[in-house]
């Protein structure tokens, strides 16, 4: 599938160039039309999404929604007070032995994974928050 791969990458590079280079001046001088660069870039990225969704027979749409949800949740996790992820991790880790005593092993496993994710989120926030967000402190 090299042609498809090349097309997708070319479109992504094109989206960047449209956004990065003063394309609107060129277009205006040639066809005298005002062009919103960000809208064109966005349109190209949406074209890429459309191509992938078509190629993956709508399975891509499920991926897309899941990624959007995960990204939003991750963003929220980075922005909330740092105590919340750690407190949630504490709750889940406390729940683990209780569930194990009740012999609900699957739920205990789920609880352990959730605890692990909360810890990862907390640590990621501690390390990267100040670098990613302007004016952020270790809240």
């Amino acid at each position: 599938m090299p042609v498809f791969n090349i097309t997708v990458y070319a479109l992504l590079v094109g989206a960047f160039w449209v956004f990065f280079l003063p394309v609107e001046k060129l277009v205006k001088s040639v066809v005298h039309i005002e062009v919103a660069r960000s809208a064109v870039s966005l349109g190209i990225v949406l074209c890429v999404i459309g191509l992938l969704v078509h190629q993956t027979a709508l399975a891509g749409m499920v991926y897309l929604l899941a990624f959007a949800l995960c990204l939003g949740a991750f963003g929220l996790g980075l922005l909330v007070d740092r105590k919340y992820p750690y407190m949630l991790a504490l709750v889940f880790v406390t729940l683990c032995p209780v569930l194990l005593i009740l012999k609900l092993n699957r739920l205990a496993e789920l609880s352990a994974v959730l605890c692990y994710l909360c810890l990862i989120l907390g640590i990621t926030k501690d390390i990267f928050h100040t670098k990613l967000v302007t004016g952020a402190t270790h809240a």
């Binding site: 791969n5 990458y9 966005l42 991926y63 929220l76 922005l79 012999k103």
Partner: protein, 751 residues
């Protein structure tokens, strides 16, 4: 509301009496059919068929009689008996005492005139020789089902064919459903029964009652009226307002306010319902008798959640499960209502935080080009399957960042210095060049294969078949075989002893010249080839009975024949379960055969026409019956008029003992084909020539292109890797592929 919910919940769990699963016999099947039609039937104990001395000569009572209704007149209930059951006259007469309605199913042509004063001979119509699709037959069925009164007992004498032929069964069902409704309308005398029976009867009749339908209609009207009250008022007074989003926001807010206002009540109901989980777990564990298996209640609950199974639970009268399902959904609904305000608050708060976040310009600056570049590398060195997820994730990130930059009015290009700009442009250009050039470079370069052992594992004993997984650009080191069997790689024959050359060809190009062998994994392809090349038939035919056969309908002119009949013999010694028997006919599509399917326009046409029809509802049979033959009427118009492949399916072939097809008065000559053709899970050798010669041709359903192997073995044996490597390069082997021999479980290697 809380009180009502608790009472409803308790009621649901109060109904714990569920009918246990009984052995599946024809009588059980018929009982189930009548119950589905709304006829409450009881059956006789199996011991009734035993001689009187065996049971002490005592009259047997119907098995379904409970302590509560024993000895009372069986108003509204039916006794269901098989003609073959009533061999003991005394017992049969006693058993019917108290019943005003008796249904006699005449199985195997048994005469019961001496027992009940009614006969199984039918002078009205011989159903087995009629076209079941004729509407006049349906009318006659209603006449047959009409009861005969003998000594104050209504006897419904039904030939078995009416219950096993789907069309007849449907027509009969119309009559009995109407009968059940009429009895409900007439009303039965109230009897003193237990609380559970009341609940069961109420539940079983409520669904068909006018009250239920009226309640549903009123509920739907109420819901629609409540939801659409404002839009309808607006539509009537100010239709333009319907285009304003404030109207819809107001509607959503109203629902939110309702939930918020009643939040405390909702929480209390949810907590009470959640507490009910304790008795539910206890009940499930005690019912199953598995106190040590803590996972059982969870798996039971998970299996109960499927809403599409409600009808099945109802039909099986597992009312506890219906109640549990209702409870679980109620709990989920209240849980959702309790969580909803919190969830809405979190989503609103999260959206506001994310919308107002100020990202570091340096992070935003490099995020876009680095994302694009990573995608470039993934698309260059990976295929779409592996990189689609990454590209979609990147697309979400890019859309988010672009929207962020646009909303903050950031001069994106201004974030870069001149050197950074040049570097970025160069990096992306290099990526684009690499993405374009790398696949072309790969194509021109000779493939650098890696070699690995064909038999990788070092177990002491390895037997065929052997499954081999392979990586890309991998070939196998020589592996020498010295065994006596023919060796196959997937559907390709790669070695045959005492032969100099092996040629693999698609089965569609079958020719019986020379020495041949036939293998298959795809019955449809075999059917198609048989229809196109009838001479293949003789290599697959068998003298034993098989559910697969060929028949030429053309000389019998099925359309002009008024009747057609299938005669199916079932071996009851193995106690076959009830099943829906289907007759599948496969004929060649004349258009596709004439014009071919190789052109683009004709490629969509299926070269064969496959028709499948349920011909019989097999009720199961008891072991003592031996081989039982069922005569099933068929509609001659549904039969093909050409050379066809026939397949009887629905019941495991081991239970089938014979199958005949009679059109008019002529029995069609069926040519049975070996059952091996129907194998789909693995490759099967269907035929192999007895003699040996220089060249052996292997015809297979899975072979697409010809493949020839020259068999030259040295002192070490024959190198199996050589043809396998050639097949790998052709790209025709699956991953993993199977190496197998015509001798099952042959020893492959012993270290």
């Amino acid at each position: 509301m809380l009180k009502q919910a608790v009472i409803l919940c308790m009621l649901s769990f109060g109904i714990l009496t569920s009918t246990s699963v009984a052995a599946q016999t024809s009588l059980d099947y018929y009982k189930k059919v009548f119950k589905l039609w709304g006829i409450q039937v009881d059956t006789l104990a199996p011991e009734l068929t035993q001689p009187a001395t065996a049971t002490g000569g005592n009259a047997q009572q119907p098995t379904d009689r409970t302590d509560t209704n024993r000895g009372q007149a069986m108003d509204g209930r039916y006794l269901l008996v098989l003609a073959s059951q009533s061999k003991n006259i005394l017992q049969a007469e006693n058993a019917t005492l108290g019943y005003q309605n008796v249904i006699v199913i005449c199985d195997a042509g048994e005469q019961v005139a001496s027992v009940f004063g009614v006969s199984c001979t039918f002078d009205k119509l011989n159903y087995a020789e009629q076209n079941p699709n004729l509407s006049s037959v349906a009318d006659t069925i209603k006449q047959t089902a009409w009861s005969t009164n003998v000594n104050g007992v209504n006897y419904h004498v039904l030939p078995q064919v009416l219950l096993i032929t789907p069309q007849y069964q449907e027509s009969l069902g119309f009559y009995y459903k109407a009968l059940a409704r009429s009895q409900e309308t007439a009303g039965a005398k109230p009897t003193k029964v237990t609380g559970n029976s009341i609940a069961q009867n109420l539940l079983s009749t409520f669904k068909d009652s006018a009250l239920f339908k009226g309640t549903v209609y009123i509920l739907v009207l109420l819901v629609f009226g409540a939801v659409l009250r404002q839009p309808l008022a607006v539509l009537f007074h100010q239709p333009r307002l319907l285009l304003h989003r404030e109207l819809y926001l107001q509607l959503a807010q109203r629902a939110a306010v309702l939930v918020t206002y009643n939040y405390t009540k909702l929480t209390v109901i949810f907590l009470v319902l959640a507490l009910c989980y304790i008795p539910v777990f206890y009940t499930l564990t005690s019912l199953a008798g598995l106190p040590s298996d803590s996972g059982y209640p969870l798996s039971y609950i998970a299996a109960t959640l499927n809403p599409f199974d409600t009808q099945a639970f109802g039909a099986a009268q597992t009312l506890f499960r219906v109640g549990l399902q209702f409870y679980l959904y109620t709990l989920a609904l209240f849980g959702f209502l309790v969580i909803l305000p919190h969830l809405a608050r979190v989503v609103t708060s999260a959206s506001q935080r994310i919308v107002h976040v100020q990202l570091n310009p340096s992070f935003v600056k490099w995020l876009i080009p680095s994302t694009v570049l990573v995608n470039g590398l993934a698309l260059t060195f990976g295929d779409l399957q592996t990189s689609a997820g990454l590209v979609l994730l990147s697309a979400v990130v890019l859309v988010t960042v672009l929207v962020y930059i646009q909303s903050r009015h950031i001069d994106y290009a201004g974030l870069f210095t001149a050197t950074q700009r040049r570097l970025t442009m160069f990096g992306l250009l290099a990526g684009l060049t690499l993405t374009t050039a790398y696949p072309m470079l790969q194509q021109t370069r000779p493939t650098d294969y890696a070699f690995e052992p064909l038999i990788g594992i070092k177990d002491e004993v390895i037997v065929f078949p052997y499954s081999k997984k392979w990586g890309s650009q991998v070939l196998f080191e020589p592996y020498y075989y010295t065994g006596p069997s023919r060796v196959y790689a997937d559907s390709y024959l790669i070695y045959a002893p005492n032969t100099n050359r092996v040629v693999n060809k698609p089965l569609t190009r079958f020719s019986d010249a020379g020495n041949i062998t036939l293998i298959s994994e795809n019955p449809d392809a075999v059917f198609e080839t048989i229809l196109k090349t009838p001479k293949l038939e003789k290599y697959l035919s068998t003298t034993d009975f098989s559910p697969l056969a060929t028949v030429d309908f053309a000389p019998t002119a099925t359309v002009s024949s008024p009747t057609a009949q299938a005669q199916l013999s079932v071996n009851c010694n193995l106690s076959p379960p009830p099943a829906a028997i289907k007759l599948t006919t496969v004929v060649l599509d004349r258009f596709a055969h004439t014009y071919g399917t190789t052109t683009e326009a004709n490629a969509l046409i299926d070269p064969v026409i496959t028709e499948s029809e349920r011909i019989m509802n097999f009720p199961g049979c008891r072991a003592e019956t031996g081989v039982e033959t069922f005569e099933i009427p068929l509609d001659p118009h549904t039969l093909p008029q050409d050379y066809a492949v026939l397949l009887v399916s629905g019941l495991d072939p081991q239970y089938l003992a014979g199958f005949k097809l009679v059109v008019g008065r002529t029995e069609l000559p069926l040519k049975y084909l070996t059952k091996e053709v129907l194998t789909t899970a693995k490759y099967t050798v269907l035929y192999t020539s007895p003699s040996t010669s220089d060249t052996l041709t292997n015809y297979s359903t899975q072979v697409r292109t010809d493949f020839q192997v020259e068999l030259t073995d040295d002192s070490r044996g024959y190198d199996l890797s050589a043809p396998i490597n050639a097949l790998l390069k052709m790209g025709v082997l699956s991953n993993p592929f199977s190496i197998w021999t015509d001798t099952p479980n042959e020893l492959l290697q012993k270290l």
